[in-house]
Amino acid sequence: MKEIKHALILDNQLIADNIYKMTLEADGIAREAKAGQFVNLYCKGEAKLLPRPISICEIDKDRGRITLVYGVVGQGTKEFSTLKAGEKIEVLGPLGNGFKIDESKAKNIIVGGGIGTPPLVELVKQLKGEKEVYLGFRSQSILLEAFKVYGANVHVATEDGSEGFKGNVLELLKKNNAKGEIIYSCGPKPMLKAIAAWAKENEIAMQVSLEERMACGIGACVGCVCKIKEKDELDWQHKKVCKDGPVFWSDEVVWDD
């Protein structure tokens, strides 16, 4: 039977404004996890009732550890940010389907936006071939070194120009005339929508990791849906981000909102 585990927190540090990196001793999760999957973290008590879905940033199968990089966006993640090494946290996972790594592709483009960047680290670690990583942030970048360690060329765009290219990540892709055989992406929906349109124009297959407000995280409540095409834009079904995703092919998604 599956169950929520009480995982030991090995480390929980502030790495940028409002962004924390937590390392958990979670042997079972590390053994099974794939790039692009997530875990549920639970708050103490019942006041903050629902689990928080957090993507897995890195998997260390040898040492039985996972690393999570999360933004403090509400009361739940604020509680997580106060936890110290040596404390325990309730965790369930790995959940969802990760990226479908296509090893036949020699040239990979990886596009991350803001707090959607973390799951791309494990992906880049596992990808073979050329890895061109494009990251967009409002002002402050995260995880650049992690990507470089795994052999990626990293290109950064910031909206305020405080680091790298001034503008958004799509403008940077266009400016660099980026070429690749496949795109893997995670970030805010407007960014994914724009990159998906660019990918379609350039006839590049693209995988997107979507986000939606969840309750259970395991496919039971049908809360976290997105529109996935059956045939075309008009013939679609609500699929569960947690169970059917969070990774989908960009041409399956109805990008209407």
């Binding site: 599956k2 929520i4 009732l49 369930l92």
Partner: protein
């Protein structure tokens, strides 16, 4: 060592459940997902997510908002329709030694009747008529908040039902007892309550409602006092068995509902926080019975 001499069996309109614990419709799918966390054989019954005559797409996302001690949902009864349900989910659930309660959704009297007629030939144990979902426009809630409509839809559906008929009530009414009496008068063999309370949450940074549907159904531990009060009132107004629900996450919560008059209890939103909540509730009921030397829940049911 707990001796298993106490009797957990309960009877809902002629259907015997091995114990009083079931699931609240819409929180447990058809048992597949939580069946990986708990042994479904241990549950008195599985109450499945609402089914309608044709597939329903449900409401747009976001459908979920957390609130203090609870949550809002505006799923809107997304489901694959009764045919897919019968084909895929009944064979799955029949692998387990548990009763099947099917929640029926509809937007008109004829649609409710169509689904119930179809289910009357299916291998299920009980029907739960959902006249109370707050998330479907022109839908269930108008039936569940209007005495005459609640009576009418129950009476019509009852003509097609071969299995005992439970009617699930909405708490979004002034006097729950008049609705309860109306559905019993219409032929309901049992009552379940409460469905979710209509609620709302606003994102103050975006200055917009969190739910795409603006309003949604409020559930979770925070609603328990309201649910308990309504079960207490309904238990005094009618004599049919009651399945009590609303914020139950422990055995102690369940005992409160049984003391207030519930025959069985359903665990809903608690599953999202604790995938083993159903079993924890069951174990908690057993511990209470052992502690107070209770042989059968009949000894304490409705004693408040």
């Amino acid at each position: 060592m707990i001796k298993e001499k106490h009797n957990l069996k309960v009877n809902i309109a002629g259907v015997e459940l091995k114990n009083p614990v079931t699931t609240a419709s819409g929180t447990f799918g058809s048992g597949r997902e939580y069946g990986e966390f708990v042994d479904l054989n241990q549950l008195g019954a599985v109450t499945v997510k609402g089914v309608s005559s044709t597939p329903w797409k449900g409401n747009p996302a976001p459908r979920i908002a957390e609130t203090y001690g609870g949550m809002l949902n505006s799923v809107g009864l997304q489901n694959p329709g009764v045919e897919e349900f019968i084909k895929n989910d009944i064979p799955f659930l029949r692998q387990y030694d548990t009763k099947i309660i099917v929640n029926v959704a509809g937007k008109s009297v004829s649609e409710y009747c169509e689904v119930v007629e179809r289910l009357s030939h299916a291998d299920i144990d009980l029907i739960e008529l959902n006249i109370s979902c707050p998330n479907v426009k022109e839908g269930g809630v108008t039936f569940g908040t209007d005495v005459k409509m609640a009576h009418k839809v129950t009476k019509e559906v009852k003509r097609y039902a071969k299995q005992p008929l439970i009617v699930k009530l909405s708490p979004n009414v002034t006097d729950i007892t008049e609705i309860a009496r109306a559905v019993v008068d219409g032929g309901a063999d049992g009552i379940s309550l409460i469905n979710t309370l209509l609620g709302m949450a606003i994102d103050i940074h975006k200055r917009k409602p969190i739910l795409a549907n603006t309003v949604g159904g409020f559930s979770g531990p925070a609603v328990k006092p309201v649910a308990l009060r309504m079960v207490y009132q309904v238990a005094r107004a009618v004599s049919v068995p009651i399945i009590g629900m609303g914020g139950i996450s422990t055995g102690e919560d369940a005992i409160e509902f049984i003391l207030a008059g519930a025959t069985a209890v359903a665990v809903g939103t608690a599953n999202f926080r604790n995938p083993r909540a159903t079993i924890d509730v069951l174990e908690g009921i057993k511990e209470y019975m052992v502690r107070y030397g209770i042989q059968s829940l009949d000894e304490i049911r409705g004693m408040i």
